[in-house]
Symmetry: C2
Amino acid sequence: MKRVLFTPGPTQVPSEVLEAMARPLIHHRTDEYRAFFLEATRLLAEHLGTQEPVLTLSCSGSGAMEAAAVNLLSPGDEAVVVEGGKFGDRWRAIAEAYGITVHKVSVAWGRVATVEEVESALTAHPKARLLFLTHSETSTGALFPAHEIARVARARGVATIADAVTSFGVYDLRFDDSDLDGVVWGSQKGLMIPPGLGYVCFSPRAWAIAEKAKLPRFYFNLVKARGALEKGDTPFTPAINLVLGSHAAVTLMAKEGRAAVFARHQRNADATRHALRALGFSLFAEVPSNALTAVHVPAGVDGGAVVKTMEQRYGVKIAGGQDQLKGKIFRLGHIGYYDDGDILRLVGAFEAALIDHGFRAEPGTAVRAAQESIRGAYLPEPALCW
Amino acid sequence: MKRVLFTPGPTQVPSEVLEAMARPLIHHRTDEYRAFFLEATRLLAEHLGTQEPVLTLSCSGSGAMEAAAVNLLSPGDEAVVVEGGKFGDRWRAIAEAYGITVHKVSVAWGRVATVEEVESALTAHPKARLLFLTHSETSTGALFPAHEIARVARARGVATIADAVTSFGVYDLRFDDSDLDGVVWGSQKGLMIPPGLGYVCFSPRAWAIAEKAKLPRFYFNLVKARGALEKGDTPFTPAINLVLGSHAAVTLMAKEGRAAVFARHQRNADATRHALRALGFSLFAEVPSNALTAVHVPAGVDGGAVVKTMEQRYGVKIAGGQDQLKGKIFRLGHIGYYDDGDILRLVGAFEAALIDHGFRAEPGTAVRAAQESIRGAYLPEPALCW
């Protein structure tokens, strides 16, 4: 049986990427490696819409979050954290681990914070000069209005740092045209490579803060990483084969074209949502992200059993809920290397497993709705993120 | 042309490991992944000679060093750092980045610190309760008497943390029988997988310190990592395919047998040293490590040109010196996946490139000496590290 990942990370890895990572290892202090690394870096920046340096760190996405935080904060600082899920809360946990006073803008998981809610917090806590938020909240499937929030924050002189772990490669972030001052992401999502690399990009404004920031850091010292990058290098031995994989992946993305990559994610998300709505589900997220679709486990259905049946009988691995949502939602990932046929496989396995577990639906409902959505697909709507 | 790495990290990766990493990605929250991860962890512990948990971190070896340091130190602490090379100095840089007062025991690069020198420092700085040192100093090829130093440190109630980045897999560290309280290493050396994973193992004594230590940490919180490991998990998404590679690698090492792995490194190191001595070189390191062999660049020879010729004409990549040794030494790596034939390839390319650049030697001198060493190989001497 084929087994296919449809989790919101790790995601499917194209065979071109697996092949690039499987070649005999090359040394990182060689012109050959530098050429791959710098070309990958260039294409990542192009994808992000920036002229600023994109830093590759050998760590998970959470490591990249910590790197952004410790390079921008100083002892005694306060920060505002927008939280509506597990990963929003991670910003709080990171900042508090370093003794930073955090003011949370919390919304119920599944909801997104409004610009007004964030503005109130910024007004209430004028000492906070940094705002941390999640763009696409992987634990709920909700898309936060990161760009609008960043706009009001910048108007008050507050720098916004976005966790773009499940929005990079899905949305056109247009970093340099935005009011965001930092974004972080990981390798195992829209970038289509295995986990193990984290990325950070700062605006010139964030770099000015970083040069003066006083929290301790060594492995995650981004000022040093930026200096090394200018020489095609990293301060520490990089995860070489993952970097070679990133080159292969971002090359695939560049060949497909940025607009096409974003449109494909929109099409896949639309088809998945259509299929789930046709089954009678309503979406869990107030504003759904194109990275994943979350829906409530229906009353009377054993969610864990459905996930297991999908995996064991149909070879399709999705995710359940995390933390307070454990057992309560399904999360169907469609971030990264997925096409129309994959979405049919995904929603087909989902409806089949639901029916296996007593859910009442006419067989074919979900795949038919997805197919209709795909067949009727038109040019994407303006990306929700702006 | 075949191109083969003989750098002291990254090192050659066996095809079994490349193959394990090139399979379609699996999810890390599955029984399948947990079985690989826990078996790799068990075999790593066995190799290290410990019953204590071996923690796998997604970072480079330097990240593992920082993890060890920040989990054992508290603000206001002092520490002794033994330094005789670039990586000994890294302990200082890490500790100082966190505001720790460091007392250095410095020896000339190439030398090793004596037990007496370290004892003097411990006497002079009784407030220091932690001692950081390098076992095999990758920048010089010197093997420090880590176990003897740890013994005198422990007698004074001082905990010793060793950078075993280029000694893990080379020497029988017998962690539980030693007086070491912590060791760290990376994936791209004796473990024969690409860079991207760091490892930490603590003694119960070190864990007692870690539970009370107060330096800030989040990504590198080892107490949390230990708790997660008990459930076959990691606090953050692991570098999945590297972990699968580690399983393949440590399985190969277990099949070969610990004693055979250590003996092979001894044989390879002996053969390399014989070959270089036959060419008229003396070893750079006062006490040479079995991980790599360093020798001075001879007067009148352009070291950089020799390294380049070895790479471009003979397909053999060795390393030059780092920092203050840049251009002054050659470093020939034989750590990891190397056998007799590899050593002939290594020293053959070295002597050929030297001769190409005007070095006076009878062609065949080095390969003949290596061959004699290999043919006369006997059971290994007691490992120098004890």
